[in-house]
C-alpha cells in the first residue's frame, strides 16, 4: 500500500488521535470503563495500523523489537515494583494505603502506576505477537 496516497495521509492523521485516545482510556480508567489493558491494546493497534499502511519495516524502525521486548518485561517490573514499594513504605505487598499520607490518595497513586505497568506490558506483548506472526516464513527458521 505504499502508493495509496489517501490511506497514507489518513493514517498519518489518525494515528496521533488513536494514541491520544489510548491515553484517555488509560487515565480515565480510574473513573470509568477503561484502564491499562485496553489502553495497551489501543497503543498496539496504532502501531499495527502504521505497519499495515507503511510496511512492517517502517513499524520496526519506529518500534524496534528490542524496545518491544523491554516494554513487555518492564511493565511487569513496574507492577511488581508498586507492590514492593508497599513493603518499603511499611505496609503489605501491593498495599496502596501506605503510598501516600492520605490513604485514598495512596490508593490512587498505587492503581495509577499499576495501570501504567499493565499498559506497557500489554502493548509490548501485542506488538511482540504481531511481529512474530508477520515475520513467520521470512526467517529461514
Amino acid at each position: 500500500m505504499k502508493h495509496d496516497l489517501i490511506l497514507r495521509v489518513a493514517a498519518k492523521l489518525l494515528i496521533p488521535f488513536i494514541l491520544l485516545f489510548a491515553l484517555y482510556v488509560q487515565f480515565h480508567g480510574d473513573f470509568g470503563p477503561g484502564g491499562g489493558f485496553q489502553a495497551g491494546v489501543i497503543i498496539a493497534a496504532a502501531v499495527i495500523f502504521y505497519a499495515l499502511i507503511y510496511g512492517v519495516e517502517a513499524a520496526r524502525k519506529a518500534m524496534p523489537d528490542r524496545l518491544v521486548e523491554t516494554m513487555l518485561a518492564s511493565g511487569v517490573l513496574i507492577y511488581a515494583g508498586v507492590g514492593l514499594m508497599g513493603l518499603v513504605m511499611g505496609g503489605n505487598y501491593l498495599d496502596y494505603f501506605v503510598l501516600d499520607r492520605d490513604p485514598v490518595l495512596g490508593q490512587h497513586r498505587g492503581i495509577f502506576w499499576v495501570e501504567v505497568g499493565v499498559a506497557v506490558t500489554v502493548s509490548g506483548v501485542m506488538l511482540k505477537v504481531f511481529y512474530m506472526f508477520v515475520s513467520r516464513g521470512r526467517d529461514p527458521e
Binding site: E69, T70, A73, V76, L77, A80, L84, L87, Y93, V98
Partner: protein, 494 residues
C-alpha cells in the same frame, strides 16, 4: 519493615520479579545468575516458612492489606510449607544443572528466555501452593501451565512441539474444569477465600451445585496431576522436553496438583462430604490400582528411558492417590511423604538421564547399552534412583511404601498390601531393563569413545541421589512434616 512478616509475599514475588529481569538483561549468563539467585532465595524463604509453621501455626498474609475473606490471602500451614519446600528446592537444584544441559538443547540466543520461563513456572507453582484464594489458584495454575507448555516446546526434538500442544489441549481442558468448579463454589458460597468457603459450605454441602463443583474440580485437577487414565499428555511431555525441564516438571508440577486436590478435599469440601457421602474413595482406589499396575506394565515395554520413567511417574502418582483414598492419617501421611520422596527420586533420575542424553545423544535403550562402562557414576545413580522407585529399604521410596502398607493394614485390607508389593515387582522389572542394558552389554564402538557426564550435570543429580538415600534413613523431617500435615487436615491433634 520486618522481612520475616512478609515472607509469604516474597516467596512468590522474588521468582516473579526475576523473570522480567532475565528478559531485560538479554544475556544468558546474567539471566542465569538472576534466576538461580531468585530460586535460592525462594528456597531459603520456604525453609523459613517451614520452620515458622513447626508448631502447627498458620501464617496468614493479606495481600494489599485487604483483610481476608475480602482480599487475597496467602496462607501457609504445615502442608503448604512442605510443598513449597519441595518446589523451591527442586528449582534451586535444577537451575544450576540447566546451565550446562541447555547448552546442547536450546539455541544460545534463547537461553535468557528459557530462564525467564523457568522463573515464571516456579512463580506459578509456588503461588498455587501458597495462596488461600480459590480464584488465585486458577490464575497461578495458568501461569505455571502456560510457561511449562513453552518450556516443553523448547525441546530440540520437533516432536516436543506436538507433545507441548497435546499438553496444552489437555491442560486447558483441566484448567477449564477447575475454573467451572470454582465458579460453582463461588455461586453457592459467595466467597473465594478457601477457609471462608469451607465454613459456608457447611450450610449448603451436599446440594447439587456443590456436588457438581466437586466433580468438576476432581476431574480437572486429576487431568493436571495425570491420574490414570488422564495421563496421556504426560509421557510425551516428559520425553521430549529439555532434560532440566523434564526433571523439574516431573518433580513438581504433578505434586502441586495433588496438593491442590488434597487442599480442596480436606480444607474446603471436608472429608465427610468427599469420602463418606460419595463413592469417591472407591473410584480413586480403582484408578490408583489401575495406575500402579497398568502404567508400570506399560513402562516395562518402553524403548526410551525417559518415556519409561515417565510411565513410572504415572504409576507412582497412583501410590499417592491410593494413600488419599484410604482417608486415614496414615494413608494421608503416606501420600504427603511420597510427594517429597517421589519428587526427589524422579528429579534425580531425570537429571541423570539428562547427563546420559548429553553424552550419548539420545535416551533409547539400544543406544545406552554398556553405559555403565562409560558413565559409571550416571549409571549407578540411575540404579539407586530405580531402587527408590521399587521401594528397597534404605531409600526414600521404602518409607512411602511402608506407610502405604501400614495404612492398608490399618483398614484390614490385606489384598491391598499385597497389591502394593506386587506392583513394586513391576517396578523391579522396568528398572531391571536399564540394569541389563547398561551393565550386561558391551558398549558400542561409538559409545566407548564417550566420557562421563560433566560435573555441572553430575553434581546436582548426585545431590538429589544422596537426598534420596538420606531421607530413606532419616525420616524425622519428611514423615514428621507429613504426619503433622495429615493430622492438621483431618483435624486431629489440634
Amino acid at each position: 519493615m520486618s522481612i520475616a512478616l512478609h515472607l509469604p509475599a516474597l516467596q512468590v514475588v522474588i521468582p516473579l520479579v526475576s523473570a522480567p529481569l532475565a528478559v531485560l538483561v538479554r544475556r544468558a549468563d546474567a539471566a542465569f545468575l538472576i534466576v538461580t539467585a531468585a530460586s535460592w532465595a525462594a528456597f531459603a524463604t520456604a525453609i523459613a516458612l517451614w520452620l515458622g509453621t513447626g508448631d502447627g501455626a498458620t501464617i496468614s498474609y493479606a495481600i494489599g492489606n485487604w483483610q481476608p475473606p475480602w482480599g487475597i490471602e496467602y496462607r501457609v500451614d504445615r502442608l503448604s510449607s512442605f510443598v513449597l519446600l519441595i518446589v523451591s528446592g527442586m528449582a534451586a537444584i535444577t537451575l544450576p544443572y540447566s546451565r550446562t544441559s541447555i547448552e546442547r538443547e536450546i539455541p544460545h540466543e534463547q537461553h535468557y528466555l528459557f530462564y525467564a520461563m523457568f522463573a515464571l513456572c516456579l512463580t506459578g507453582l509456588l503461588g498455587i501452593t501458597i495462596t488461600g484464594d480459590a480464584f488465585n489458584i486458577f490464575v497461578f495454575l495458568e501461569i505455571s501451565s502456560l510457561s511449562s507448555y513453552v518450556l516443553i516446546a523448547l525441546g530440540r526434538d520437533r516432536r516436543a512441539l506436538m507433545a507441548s500442544y497435546q499438553y496444552l489441549v489437555m491442560g486447558t481442558i483441566g484448567a477449564t474444569f477447575i475454573v467451572i468448579g470454582i465458579g460453582l463454589l463461588y455461586l453457592m458460597t459467595g466467597t473465594l477465600n478457601l477457609a471462608d468457603m469451607a465454613g459456608r459450605l457447611a450450610q449448603v454441602g451436599g446440594t447439587r451445585p456443590v456436588l457438581a463443583a466437586l466433580a468438576f474440580l476432581t476431574v480437572g485437577i486429576s487431568l493436571k496431576l495425570a491420574l490414570y487414565p488422564l495421563h496421556q499428555w504426560l509421557a510425551n511431555a516428559y520425553t521430549y522436553a529439555p532434560s532440566a525441564v523434564s526433571a523439574f516438571l516431573a518433580a513438581t508440577a504433578t505434586k502441586v496438583s495433588i496438593y491442590v486436590l488434597i487442599r480442596f478435599y480436606y480444607s474446603v469440601f471436608g472429608e465427610s462430604l468427599v469420602f463418606e457421602k460419595l463413592p469417591l474413595p472407591e473410584i480413586m482406589l480403582l484408578l490408583s490400582l489401575a495406575a500402579m499396575f497398568a502404567a508400570s506394565a506399560v513402562a516395562i515395554f518402553q524403548h526410551d528411558l525417559k518415556r519409561l520413567f515417565a510411565y513410572s511417574s504415572v504409576a507412582q502418582i497412583g501410590y499417592i492417590t491410593l494413600g488419599l483414598s484410604f482417608d486415614s492419617v496414615t494413608g494421608l501421611t503416606a501420600s504427603i511423604v511420597h510427594l517429597f520422596n517421589h519428587a526427589v527420586t524422579k528429579g534425580a533420575l531425570f537429571l541423570l538421564i539428562g547427563g546420559a542424553v548429553a553424552a550419548v545423544g539420545g535416551a533409547t535403550l539400544s543406544r545406552l547399552s554398556g553405559l555403565a562402562r562409560v558413565m559409571p557414576l550416571t549409571s549407578f545413580g540411575i540404579v539407586l534412583g530405580g531402587l527408590s522407585l521399587i521401594g528397597v529399604p534404605g531409600t526414600a521410596g521404602f518409607i512411602s511404601k511402608w506407610y502405604l502398607i501400614l495404612a492398608a493394614l490399618e483398614k484390614g485390607q490385606w489384598w491391598l498390601a499385597i497389591a502394593i508389593v506386587a506392583s513394586s515387582l513391576l517396578a523391579v522389572a522396568y528398572v531391571w531393563r536399564f540394569v541389563e542394558v547398561a551393565y550386561f552389554r558391551e558398549p558400542s564402538a561409538d559409545l566407548a569413545t564417550r566420557r562421563e557426564a560433566p560435573l555441572g550435570l553430575l553434581v546436582p543429580a548426585w545431590i538429589l541421589v544422596s537426598t534420596t538415600l538420606y531421607f530413606g534413613l532419616e525420616t524425622s523431617v519428611t514423615v514428621g512434616s507429613a504426619a503433622n500435615a495429615a493430622a492438621m487436615l483431618l483435624g486431629i491433634g489440634k
